[in-house]
Chain length 208, copies 2
């Protein structure tokens, strides 16, 4: 059920669900290129070159450059939503679930910040139907976080005057990690996740 396959060792293999191997190599190359230069500034020749293939090889596995972006975006959004739902459906108080959601969501946006950058910031490059499909997934992410906050308010754990606005702010804060996070930087994904979980608990007025 997971969006990422696992090795016998047990760790995640990103893009493990993309087969055959040549198609996966192209997709990984596209993620890197899109993250570095943006979708429109990336050429199909560049993608194919990074995957060690000729420009024409791309079109054996994908109909268009936009289909590549869509596949990346779809898989990434599925994974992000899965992470949020796992936290929301976990046990514990609303504060614990919210902290858990933010921690794992932020960690993903930091660790996979190349993927996340494409997923979160290249939405407008998708065609209309593909964009609509992705927008729907985002709505579900929003609803998942909002539900946790709602429950925290109902339980008296949180003090939140504006649930809808706070939900947008929380998600926006987490997503933007993929823009500024740098692997060379001082903080690890775990540290950023912990910091952000703390900040978000403060935003919702959870008592420590």
């Amino acid at each position: 059920m997971s969006a990422a396959e696992e090795t016998p060792g047990g760790e995640d293999v990103p893009w493990g669900e993309v087969t055959p191997e040549a198609a996966r190599r192209l997709l990984v190359a596209a993620v890197e290129a899109f993250a570095e230069r943006g979708y429109h500034a990336t050429t199909t020749r560049d993608i194919a070159g990074r995957a060690g293939m000729s420009p024409a090889a791309l079109y054996i596995h994908y109909k268009t450059k936009e289909e590549l972006l869509h596949r990346i975006s779809r898989i990434g959004h599925d994974r992000a939503l899965e992470i949020l739902r796992a936290a929301a459906d976990g046990g514990g108080t609303a504060a614990e679930r919210l902290a858990d959601a933010v921690r794992s969501f932020v960690r993903w946006h930091a660790e996979r910040h190349t993927t996340a950058r494409v997923v979160q910031y290249e939405l407008d490059a998708l065609g209309p139907e593909h964009r609509a499909e992705i927008v729907e997934l985002r709505r579900e992410s929003d609803a998942t976080v909002r539900r946790i906050i709602d429950e925290g308010v109902a339980a008296g754990e949180f003090d939140v005057p504006d649930v809808a606005g706070t939900t947008v702010a929380v998600l926006s804060l987490c997503i933007d990690v993929s823009r500024w996070f740098n692997t060379q930087g001082r903080r690890t994904p775990d540290e950023v996740g912990a910091l952000y979980a703390d900040l978000v608990l403060r935003m919702v007025g959870a008592q420590k």
Copy 2:
């Protein structure tokens, strides 16, 4: 000293400092186009067309398309920094100054979200020297916010375990407003500014 000229009536005229008028029309057209489609997806023909001119007219006023982006980015960053500094240098407690900074900074990112989107998200499209110049302005924005938080901690107003990390988070939160804010949406720039000022005060543990 203001980055925006004023009419006799007193209200801001954005891009008022750009002359002559034809150059300003082109720049405004470029801001709209870049915000809608992104820098790389925008053609010089599109920019000139929006300004009611032929493609060649653009090159009378700007050497390259990149110079247009740089002018936009430079003016926008100057304005953003000016807003932050005005709040930081204003009177009152650290909490009042921080709330003021967030409120006006967010309001600008919401009101001028087309400009802000270009300014904040098209940094990578700049050439190396131009990018370096803009990165330096961002460092100054960061330092300005950090100073307010530092002072609040020193005065015992705030409780912030990680000042550097919290500064990044606060700026990131504000900047990302330009990505999701929609003029058609339910909230006014003022409302978002007020909400975010409240959220940020909670993040730094300011007592109400």
